[in-house]
Amino acid sequence: MTAVIDVHELTRRFGRFTAVDAISFDVKAGEVFGFLGANGAGKTTAIRMLIGLLTPTSGRASVAGFDVLTRAEDVRRRIGYMSQRFSLYQDLTVRENITLYGGIYGLSDAEIRGRGEALIEELELGHASLERVAALPLGWKQKLAFAVALLHRPAVVFLDEPTSGVDPITRRQFWEMIYAAAARGTTVFVTTHYLDEAEYCDRVSIMVDGRIGALGTPDELKRKYGDATLEEVFVRLARPAA
């Protein structure tokens, strides 16, 4: 399998502070890749460089086969992104948000209609499709944001803490959506705080102080550190930093 995300010595400094310190890793096509780390470990900075919102200080990275620095527009066409904060338009309706993003990614009117209907049906949002997004409960909003990020069938989708603040049932549904997307061949790059969720990933990396402290499948990591759960691995790695 080829690497969909290929990161080499990627570094970002803010003044004298090094937020991301020469990290290297790759993510294979169709993988669900968990990107873990304590608050302030540099996860969000790393994601922002990969999706072209922040210029790296040094190192290089390619996403979907294109360099993020020189071919940013080619990258953008092939990725989806869902941020920590809910960032669809609250004052537009569900349908209007879908149409907007479909249009931005260059889908035809027929595609927008077809995929939009399917999406609304899948999320069981039929009753609320003409309501403004602001009126939806948080869990629905998150699922909607994820579905919209997948609307243009991107090669990679970046999810930045998609399930924070969401109830356990919705979280489970969310992960079902993630698996469904992976099964359709979309690579999923997800950051999370919930270590039980990390167990669902094909591979995880744990960032500590801007570096990658550990990388492998959940089982490999547990074996390597002799812990029963990923949570113990995480605490073991993150503690010296605290």
């Binding site: 922002r48 999706i51 072209g52 919102l53 922040l54 210029t55 940013a72 527009e73 953008r76 066409r77 990725i79 992104y81 941020s83 920590q84 904060r85 809910f86 960032s87 669809l88 338009y89 609250q90 004052d91 537009l92 209007e96 149409t99 907007l100 993003y101 479909g102 249009g103 931005i104 990614y105 260059g106």
Partner: protein, 383 residues
Amino acid sequence: MRALRFLLRKEFLQIFRDHVILGMLFVMPLGQLLILANAATFEVRSARLYVVDHDHTPMSRGLTDRLAASGRFVPTAASPSPARADQAMLARQTDAILVIPTGFERELVRQRRAEVQFILNAEDGAAAGVLQSYAGRIFAAYSAELSAQVTPTLASIGARVDLPPRRGEPIIEIRRRGWYNPELDYLDFMVPGILVVLVTVVGTLLTAMNIVREKEAGTLDQLNVTPIRRSTFVAAKLIPLWSLALLDLALGLALAHFAFGVPVRGSLALVFVAAAIYLLAALGIGLWISTIAETQQQAMFVTFSIVMIYLLMSGLFTPVRGMPVWAQWAAQLNPVTHFIRLMRAVLLKGAGPAEVAPQLAMLAVIGAVVLTLAVRQYRKRAA
């Protein structure tokens, strides 16, 4: 282009759903225009006159009467005490004091020349200057009127008499014309200017706030990870507010014409061509503010400062040519200066494209520079 269509639809939907923005676009500027236009005037209404008449003669009373008859002065108090008149002025109870000394009539008759003292409260500046020139004209007119009467009186007293005015006295007759605004109506002059400022405030502020708001909400990041082009994004942000600001201007002009009677002597098409260019500059400044401000508070603050400088340095309230040279140069860089000048020239004087070409050219240059800078400043990716 296709993406632009979808983005434009989104922007219009958002604007028309936001009551605060709609109020700001339409109610606020037009409401303020209706009220504030009436405030912006240097016209002097009747000034309160305190008369200190030490002479008590027909001529001294005649002088007071002429001042009163002009309608510009209303004698509201009289006393023989200059000190009390002074106090009245300190207490803002009177605007002008006329002191007629003893022997006023006698001097006029004997010396053909008499002095009075005229004191104006210059606390309000502009008004005092205007009152001074009104009073000057009234004094001159009364002098002329007396000239006819005084000679016979002289003869009857038997004093040293000049011959009656000899024929062939050189006379210059001045006919005055105040072109473009013979009634000296301040509304004609101020309404177009105030309208420009209101439209500018609204356009600049809304553009800046609109983008910064998306920054704060995180939706800007979401747009920045999509493949839309910078130019598409900027066009989608500017076109709706640009067209609404033009609509605002049209409504304001209609109000100016029908409610305030501001004349439209030149071509409206010319005004709107200029407005279209001008608004690009005004909104471009809003766009530039939004690239440097992280929060709506900062955007507001910067806009406030810039617009205040805009306003006071544009020749709207005080003439640009009264400013020191460096400030006149600064005013040349201010798009408001050129647009206000153009509006006044076209509406009041009926100026055509050739006559306002310099303003149009400056607007185009400023607009192009501002927009280019703002678009270059806008980055999808943080450095």
